[in-house]
């Protein structure tokens, strides 16, 4: 059995065929797992009318690294699906918020656990499920609920994606991934939900068989393309690691 490598040459090549109108999920939570390099390549590539799924639209911290908010600013985004369209503190203002307030982009605001579960459902072939989150809130107004064993639940639908951009620590050529610590977050779920998963990988990509099968966090079944993050300044790491490198 031949095992072809899923490694591709660079970020531009990895995102070249993403069409206008694609639904793209962006991994990451407060830094770890965020696909900065793939997002930068998509800014360069220019696909438009995108639907972008992520926990946040980014931009809460300086210096900024490529994020969904920058795609919005570049006019590439029709809609975002996320658990924050505004910052947790009303005094912070996200770059995204002004585009949203101005009606230049749509947003679907989803509780974080529901977002994770909707992605997981898409990846698991579950078209819809019930959840207790958001019952009795403005988000549930006019929506279908169901009482099960005496408690009210909200019907939620799977959230399938065309593409997932995620970041991992290690990968083998078959696409099996390991995440390090908080890097895992939404990344495996988005890969499961997507038809095409593209991964930026921090370490050198290993030959198939180099990872212990018991220690794989995401099976290569869910992964189509791998790109090694090159050293800075060509490759984007994290804000703080870049600062430290100076």
């Amino acid at each position: 059995m031949a095992q072809r490598s899923k490694q591709v040459a660079g970020f531009a090549a990895a995102v070249a065929d993403i069409p206008d109108g694609a639904v793209i999920a962006f991994g990451g939570f407060a830094g770890p797992g965020t696909p900065y390099n793939l997002t930068k390549a998509l800014l360069d590539q220019g696909a438009r009318r995108l639907t972008c799924i992520g926990n946040t639209t980014g931009g809460a911290h300086q210096p900024r690294l490529p994020d969904i908010g920058m795609l919005v600013e570049a006019g590439q985004v029709a809609k975002v699906v996320c658990s924050f369209t505004a910052a947790t503190r009303p005094t912070d203002v996200l770059p995204f918020t002004k585009y949203y307030e101005a009606g230049e982009v749509e947003a679907e605001l989803v509780p974080q656990g529901t977002l994770a579960e909707r992605l997981r459902a898409a990846g698991a072939g579950i078209p819809a499920f019930y959840t207790p989150a958001a019952v009795g809130t403005e988000l549930a107004e006019g929506r279908e609920t169901r009482v099960i064993n005496g408690r009210e639940y909200l019907l939620e639908y799977a959230l399938p994606c065309d593409v997932a951009f995620i970041r991992a620590w290690r990968a083998d050529a078959a696409g099996n991934l390991q995440f390090r610590l908080a890097q895992r977050n939404f990344c495996p779920l988005m890969a499961m939900a997507a038809k095409l998963t593209i991964v930026e990988v921090e370490e050198d990509i290993l030959p198939a068989g180099a990872l212990d099968p018991d220690q794989v966090h995401l099976s290569g079944i869910f992964v189509q393309r791998l790109v090694k993050v090159p050293p800075a300044p060509e490759g984007l790491w994290t804000v703080r690691r870049q600062e430290r490198a100076k």
Partner: protein
């Protein structure tokens, strides 16, 4: 800080006071902002497991600059440490832990808490959209919801109110509220005063609260 002259507890003291309520064996989720300060509190012999929405189970205090692991953050994005027995799960499993009722308490910030135990922390009145994060999942499913907030707005308006004026995060779930004025518990009709911060009189607390304050737990 409150805009008034009255200070009472500072942020760490508010967090410390609620952390004193954590019982041995509890699994605790700490929200962004002041609640994260609870993980700095010395909890002595108690066996407390801190759970973060991003799947970091068993974290400890924030690490000083230069000692952080950049792959490791809590739900507030702070670079924390891990305690022995820590484990990492993905977001769906992390919220599975939350929804299945395994979080003994979640501590969150808020804009308002009502006498009936409703609270609002995701949307300000004028905004389109808001910032929910994990708050609605946690509020609906944790065994207990504790809130930390300044007792009044910067303009001196009460945050402990008869009914929330902002869109709620969940209804009837809050059991304890720590403010710079003290520790309070929603009773339905108002708030029971469990403890007042040093220098805060009952009259001063009543004057800064939008709902009746009752003495005693």
């Amino acid at each position: 800080m409150s805009a008034t002259d009255i200070k009472g507890w500072d942020r760490q003291q508010m967090a410390d006071r609620l952390a004193r309520e954590f019982q041995d064996g509890w699994i605790v989720n700490l929200g962004v902002g002041i609640p994260t300060l609870c993980s700095n509190t010395d909890i002595g012999d108690r066996d407390i497991l801190y759970h973060a929405e991003n799947g970091v189970i068993g974290y400890g205090p924030v690490l000083p600059a230069g000692e952080e692991d950049l792959h490791l953050v809590n739900a507030g994005g702070q670079n924390v440490s891990l305690r022995p027995g820590a484990a990492i799960v993905h977001h769906a499993d992390s919220f599975g832990i939350i929804r299945s009722g395994r979080i003994d308490v979640t501590v969150m910030g808020a804009y308002e808490v009502s006498a009936g135990g409703d609270f609002a922390n995701w949307k300000v009145g004028r905004a389109k959209g808001g910032g929910i994060g994990g708050a609605m999942d946690l509020a609906a499913c944790a065994k207990r919801v504790f809130i930390i907030l300044e007792h009044t707005t910067r303009k001196g308006e009460p945050r402990l109110v008869p009914q929330c004026s902002l869109p709620v995060t969940a209804r009837g779930v809050v059991t304890l509220v720590a403010t710079n004025y003290g520790l309070f518990a929603p009773t339905g009709e108002g708030f029971a005063v469990i403890e007042l911060a040093p220098g805060i009189s009952l009259d001063a607390a009543r004057a800064a609260t939008g709902a009746p304050l009752m003495e005693g737990r």
